[in-house]
Symmetry: C2
Subunit: 405 residues, 2 copies
C-alpha cells in the first residue's frame, strides 16, 4: 500500500479522496498495489464526511510519520504550503500539487530540492485542471523546439465570454449570474483580471522554454472592459473574444502576455467554449498541437493530482527530469511586442478612417455596430507604437488585440 | 552516445534522421548525451542523401552489432517488420515504431516480449501522427476509467471531407485533386474506405480498455458514398460530416465502429479540419479531453518517433508498463449498436414523413436540399432495427449516422 497524506480538504483535496476511493481498482491494476489515504490535514472539522478518523490538524503528525510516501498539497496559497512542501521533499517524500501560486513562485527551487532527495515534485493539476499538458510538454514534445504556447487557461473568464457571446449581455450582468450559479467566485478578480491565467502561462512558459519565467514580469489585462457591443463586432466578423495567455520566442527574445484577443474560426482555440480550457503549442517539427478539456472543477483537477500520485508511486526513489532551470528567462519589454489591433473610434466613417490612416497607417475598415462610431483593424505594430498613436488620435472607445491565424 | 538503427528510409524514416539531426542540441539537454544514427536499413540506394555511409541492405549487420541500443522501425507492413522487431526485443533492444499495421496486429504480443527482456516497444507515432495520444492514455489518464475514445484518425479522408464542405464538390472530384496535390495516394483505399482509421481505433481501444481489440472485428464504412448533396444537407443543419472511429463501453459491452457521422458544432471534433486529426476521450472523473494536431506527414510523425527514442533511452533497462492485455476484448455484435440516422428518401415531403413514421417511429424532419426527395433524423435505434426498417421502407437515397453531442 502506498501511504498518502492530503493537505487541505477543500474542493480539490476532497476530490482527490473521492477519485482514489472510486477508481481504486484501476489504481491497483496500474501499480500492483493500492493507494491508502492515511491522513487529511485541515484546520476545520468535517463531521459526517467519512474522513473524521484520518483528519489531523497538525502537520507535525504527518511529518513525523515515516510511513507516509507521498504528500498531496491542495491547500493553495504560498504559506504554509511552501514550508510543508519543502520539508516533505527534504525528507525524500514526493509532493503532488494543484497549487499554481506556489508552482509559479517557487517551482524551479522545489524541483531542484526534489531532485537532490530522489523525490518528485509533480504539478500537472496546477495548469489546465485535468487536461494533460505538463506531461506532453515534458515527455512527448521532447524532440521538439517549442516556439509558442498560447492558452485559454481560465474557465471562469471563458464561461463569462461565451455567455456574453451567446446571449448578447454585458460583462457585469453575466458575471453576476455566474456568481449566483457558482461558476464565478464572490471575489472574481483573479479570474476576470487575468491574474490566474498569468500564473499558469508563467508555469507553462518556464517548462516550454526551460528557464524560470517570473509571472510578475508578464503584462496582464483582464476581460472587465469587454462590452456587449464589442461582442457584436466580434460576431459580425465571425470571430470570438477569448482571454489568451501566451508565451513565445522570437529569435533570442521571449514575449509573454495575457489579454483578450479576437480569435478567428481558423484557430482551434476559437471553439474552446464555456468552462473548457485549451492549450495550443507550436513547435518546430510537429507544428500545432492542442490539448482540450475541463480546466477546473473538483473531479477533473483531482484526477490530474491522482495521476501524479500514481506517477510518483511508480517512480519511487528516482526523479523525473524537468527542464525548468532556475536561471531567469527575461521577458522582453512589452512595448516591443507586436500585435494587430481592432479599434473602435468615435466619429463618422470618414472621420474615423481618416484619423486611422493618419495615426495607425494602413488599416482594414470594420462596419460600425453602434451609433456615432466606426472601427478598423491595424496591421501588426509594436505595443508602444500603438499606445502612442492611440494617445494622439484620441476618441478611442475600445481596442482589442487580434490573434494571427 | 545512444546508438540507433533506422529500419526503412521512406517518408517517416528519413524524417526521423532529419529530426534527430536538427534538434540534437535539445536531445542532449534532455538526455545528457546525444543520439547517433549508426545504421539505416533499406533495400534501395540513396545517392547524395547524406546517409550513404550508414546505409546497409542486410538486417543481419544491425542484429549482430551489440552497440545498437534502439531500433526505429519505420518500414511499415507486417513482414519482415514483425520478425525484425521480435528479434530486436529478444536481444533486449528497445523498438520505436510508426507501423500501425504491426501494432494493431501484434501489439500485445510485442509488448509482452519487450517486458520479458527489460526493453520497451513504443508506438506513439502509430496513431495520430505527431499528436501525443498514446502517452496521455497510458500515463496521464491513469486515475480514470475511460468510457469512450472517438477520433478523426485519417488526415486524407478529413482533408477530402473538408474540401467537399468548403467547395461543394463531389467526392470523386476532390479525391482526384487531392491525389494530384499528393494529399491522397494513387491507391487511396486504406484512407477513404476507413481501413487505416480502423487499425488506429483498434490500437487506441486496446490501450484505453486494457484488452486486445482485433481490428477485423470492427465495422468499417468509408466516405466514398458521401455526395455533394449530403454536404449541402449537413451545411444547412450547421453540421459537418466527419469520418469518426469510435470505441466505447456500455456497461459490460464494448462497441466499436468506423463510419461517416454528422457532427454538430457543440462537439470539439467539429472544428478538426483539413489534414488535422483530433481524438476525444471521455472518462469518468475528467469528462471530455481532446488531443489535436497533424495526424500525418513526415516531420510530425518522425517527431513522435524521436520522442519515443528519447523515452527508450531514458528508461534503458526498465520497461514502461502498458495495460494492454493479450486477452481478447470481444466487440459487441454491430447490430446492437445504437445510433441516430439522418435519412434522405425519395418522394414528396408528405410521402417521406408518412413512410418515416411508419417504419422508423418518431423522426425530426429535415428540409429537402434536392428535388424529388425529403429527409429526416431518427431517434437512437439499433443498427439491426434500422437496417430492417430501411429494407422495408425502400427509396432511401443515402443515410448518415448522427453523432450525439
Amino acid at each position: 500500500m502506498i501511504q498518502v497524506a492530503v493537505l487541505g480538504y477543500g474542493t480539490v483535496g476532497s476530490g482527490v479522496v473521492e477519485v482514489i476511493r472510486t477508481n481504486q481498482e484501476g489504481i491497483v491494476r496500474e501499480l500492483n498495489e493500492g493507494i491508502h489515504i492515511k491522513y487529511v490535514l485541515d484546520l476545520r472539522e468535517f463531521p459526517g464526511s467519512g474522513i473524521e478518523d484520518i483528519l489531523v490538524h497538525d502537520y507535525g503528525v504527518i511529518a513525523a510519520d515515516p510511513e507516509v510516501d507521498i504528500i498531496v498539497e491542495t491547500m493553495g496559497g504560498l504559506h504554509p504550503a511552501y514550508e510543508f512542501t519543502k520539508q516533505a521533499l527534504e525528507a525524500g517524500k514526493s509532493v503532488c500539487t494543484s497549487n499554481k501560486e506556489l508552482v509559479a513562485a517557487h517551482g524551479a527551487e522545489l524541483l531542484s530540492i526534489a531532485a537532490e532527495h530522489q523525490a518528485n515534485y509533480l504539478y500537472e493539476a496546477s495548469v489546465g485542471g485535468g487536461i494533460p499538458i505538463i506531461r506532453p510538454l515534458n515527455y512527448a514534445l521532447t524532440a521538439e523546439i517549442i516556439e509558442e504556447v498560447t492558452g485559454i487557461l481560465n474557465g471562469t473568464a471563458n464561461y463569462i465570454l461565451t455567455r456574453m457571446k451567446n446571449e448578447g449581455k454585458d460583462f457585469a450582468e453575466v458575471l453576476k449570474d455566474a456568481q449566483d450559479l457558482g461558476y464565478a467566485e464572490r471575489n472574481p478578480e483573479a479570474d476576470v483580471e487575468g491574474y490566474d491565467a498569468c500564473r499558469k502561462i508563467a508555469i507553462l512558459s518556464s517548462l516550454a522554454f526551460c528557464r524560470q519565467v517570473d509571472y510578475k514580469d508578464i503584462y496582464t489585462e483582464g476581460i472587465t472592459k469587454i462590452t456587449a457591443t464589442d461582442i457584436k463586432y466580434a460576431n459580425a466578423m465571425g470571430k470570438s473574444i477569448k482571454l489568451l495567455a501566451t508565451g513565445k520566442r522570437d529569435g533570442e527574445a521571449f514575449f509573454a502576455m495575457v489579454a483578450p484577443f479576437l480569435v478567428g474560426s481558423g484557430n482551434p482555440l476559437y471553439m474552446v467554449n464555456d468552462v473548457y480550457n485549451g492549450i495550443l503549442v507550436k513547435s518546430n517539427m510537429l507544428g500545432d498541437t492542442m490539448y482540450y478539456g475541463r480546466g477546473a472543477g473538483k473531479l477533473p483537477t483531482a484526477s490530474a493530482v491522482v495521476a501524479d500520485v500514481i506517477d510518483a508511486a511508480r517512480h519511487k526513489g528516482s526523479t523525473a527530469k524537468f527542464l525548468w532551470d532556475k536561471r531567469k528567462l527575461e521577458v522582453e519589454d512589452f512595448g516591443k511586442c507586436r500585435n494587430r489591433f481592432f479599434v473602435r473610434m468615435e466619429g463618422t466613417k470618414d472621420e474615423v478612417l481618416q484619423a486611422a490612416g493618419e495615426y495607425f497607417g494602413k488599416v482594414t475598415p470594420v462596419e460600425a455596430q453602434a451609433e456615432g462610431e466606426y472601427a478598423f483593424i491595424t496591421e501588426a505594430m509594436r505595443e508602444s507604437d500603438f499606445a502612442e498613436a492611440a494617445g494622439k488620435a484620441g476618441r478611442i472607445v475600445n481596442r482589442i488585440r487580434v490573434k494571427e491565424e
